[in-house]
Symmetry: C2
Subunit: 103 residues, 2 copies
DNA sequence: CCTTTTAAGTTTGTGTCACAAACTATACCC
DNA sequence: GGGTATAGTTTGTGACACAAACTTAAAAGG
């Protein structure tokens, strides 16, 4: 039985920031790639990579349209992503709150 | 202004577990290396490496005595370590609680 | 129009790090 | 004293975060 189950996809600081921002969006709303980069203080390269990880996990939905400088990428958290973040928060609270009995 | 300041020394899951366990100890108390390995579910190699990182940061105090199979290593959180964990917890709470105003 | 600049993503190279397997050293047991 | 158990250390490797360099294409501007 593992002591905790801190979702490693979310635990990385950069992805945690992304998920928090996306989670704060009203469901149905989206945020643009560049704006998300500003808010999370991530370079485009990093943002792309982390979004890929999150998308593979099913935690975010990424919509792309256009090409070159006309490309528009919109990002939103999925329901699964919101659940995963909530679960992460709960797990962390539990972990941090545990007053281990001494051996 | 950085959005957050999640202490990377503590943020690693293994070290977070270690710090939580040590923090739960009554100040003045210590835990043995093998016992700490059991409780945190870390192999001896990992435990050693992570304890080194934590010791370098000044977050834990490590006392060694004896040699070979007689060696006894006792570990405890320092005051600075306890403060750092509290700060980490607070930072995380703040980060997770933030309902970002949408732009 | 052709060139420059700007904007939006993508690819790539590098250093760090977590992890566990292999190793060393010493005591206990028969 | 050979084998086993215990405590801790060293080492090799694969994953990953990060930012710099690159690609594509639209506006600006002369």
């Amino acid at each position: 039985m593992p002591l905790d189950d801190l979702d490693p996809v979310i635990h990385a600081v950069a992805r945690l920031r992304i998920m928090v921002v996306l989670n704060a969006l009203t469901p149905g709303d989206e945020i643009s790639f560049p704006r998300l980069g500003e808010v999370t203080d991530l370079t485009a390269g990093n943002l792309l990579t982390h979004l890929r990880r999150l998308a593979e996990a099913g935690y975010v939905a990424v919509e792309k349209s256009g090409q070159g400088s006309m490309s528009r990428t919109l990002v939103a958290a999925t329901d699964e992503g919101r659940r995963a973040l909530a679960h992460y928060r709960a797990t962390l609270d539990r972990l941090l709150a545990t007053p281990e009995p001494s051996p």
